[in-house]
């Protein structure tokens, strides 16, 4: 009995140590978005210069949807020139960069746009509806939406050249023909166990019709 006890205590500690070792290596803020691989929620905003800006208006283009704020220093300040350069370089090929300023004061947002000479469309989201619709929980967060309107990537933190190279430009080669939205390899596993699947069956057919969720419309019909 004594020999067994001598080994039992350190052995019992092993799984705990293993769990802690795993837990401390993961980033508690890295929450996978359930939206990756799904159609991007539609929105309609008014840009700072008074023009209408909607996702539907960008159909067939690869959309880089960036959520930012003027108070978000330094990440938003780092990415602003990258976004502008990416927009200038690839808009002719069918990329559109859209900026949404969230939880920001309008004069501060305008100053930010002027400071970096941003030429891509930028709009405020005064009630926060678009940012909540996209499950945004901080700034900067960026969504890459493919030509068919499916969210393919969510990037948390400052956008870098590598994001354009690896996640935006490869999507230009795809066709805009609407088909079954493809699940991306990235975060594909988290999508398979979509937590809201249960919520949807519970809500049944009385759900408000929402454009960006064709599955809901298709299954009830």
């Amino acid at each position: 009995v004594k020999v067994r006890a001598r080994w039992f205590i350190p052995l019992a500690a092993l799984p705990v140590v293993g769990l802690l070792a795993y837990g401390f290596r993961t980033d508690p803020r890295a929450v996978p978005s359930p939206l990756v691989g799904r159609p991007a929620p539609a929105f309609e905003l008014t840009t700072f210069d008074g023009k209408s800006l909607s996702l539907d208006g960008q159909r067939g283009k690869v959309v880089v949807l960036n959520f930012w704020a003027s108070w978000c220093y330094p990440a938003c300040y780092e990415e602003a020139p990258v976004l502008e350069a990416g927009w200038l370089r690839s808009q002719a090929q069918g990329v559109v960069v859209l900026g949404v300023a969230i939880q920001d004061k309008q004069p501060a947002s305008l100053e930010f746009i002027q400071r970096f000479g941003l030429t891509f469309p930028n709009a405020p989201d005064p009630a926060g509806k678009v940012s909540i619709d996209y499950g945004v929980y901080g700034v900067p967060e960026t969504f890459v939406i493919d030509r068919r309107g499916v969210i393919r990537r969510k990037h948390v933190g400052a956008v870098t050249e590598a994001v354009f190279r690896e996640w935006v430009e490869p999507l230009l080669g795809e066709s805009a023909a609407a088909g079954e939205p493809r699940r991306t390899l990235q975060e594909g596993r988290s999508n398979d166990r979509r937590p809201h699947a249960a919520g949807r069956t519970a809500t049944g057919g009385t759900r408000r019709p929402e454009g960006p969720w064709p599955e809901a419309a298709g299954r009830t019909g």
Binding site: A127, I132, Y134, R193, P195, H196, T203
Partner: protein
């Protein structure tokens, strides 16, 4: 004729019910109803605060959105489902008790049961060990002993 009247009456009743229903849905979103949902949602920009408790702008916007959706006639579970759809189960302060989450819900009970089992076995073992020994009676001094003790203590050098 009777049938027509009956049908008309039924139609009126249905109409009245739907309008009442819509009015109720639109007008009576109380602060409690909003709070009931907001208190179950995680404030996404905070550490360990619910949407109901957080003073942040994002939580404020979420509370407005909850109110708006309830006013539009959505049921509380539909409003919750919307947030789960956008933020994942992570947004729920109490993870639903199914799948792998069950571990989370059952672990405390398992720990208590394990602790109880440990205490029971240890107590039993201690008892078994002390059993063979003679039960030790507390020493009782009678008057003679007490006098002798006092006398001997007095004889001790200071």
């Amino acid at each position: 004729m009777n049938r027509v009247v009956l049908l008309l009456g039924a139609w009126l009743v249905v109409l009245a019910m739907t309008t009442v229903d819509r009015e109720v849905a639109g007008a009576s979103v109380s602060d409690e109803d909003v709070h009931a949902i907001a208190s179950q949602l995680r404030c996404v920009v905070c550490q360990n605060l619910s949407v109901a408790d957080s003073p942040s702008e994002m939580a404020h916007q979420m509370r407005d959105l909850i109110r708006e959706r309830l006013a539009a006639g959505e049921r509380p579970d539909q409003v919750m489902a919307y947030f789960v759809q956008r933020y994942g189960e992570w947004v729920l302060l109490a993870p639903p008790a199914r799948g792998l989450n069950l571990v989370l819900w059952l672990a405390p009970f398992g720990a208590v049961a394990g602790g109880l089992a440990l205490v029971v076995t240890l107590v039993r073992r201690w008892r078994r060990r002390s059993d063979p020994a003679e039960p030790v009676a507390p020493p009782v001094m009678d008057l003679a002993e007490r006098e002798r003790l006092a006398a001997e203590l007095e004889r001790l050098p200071d």
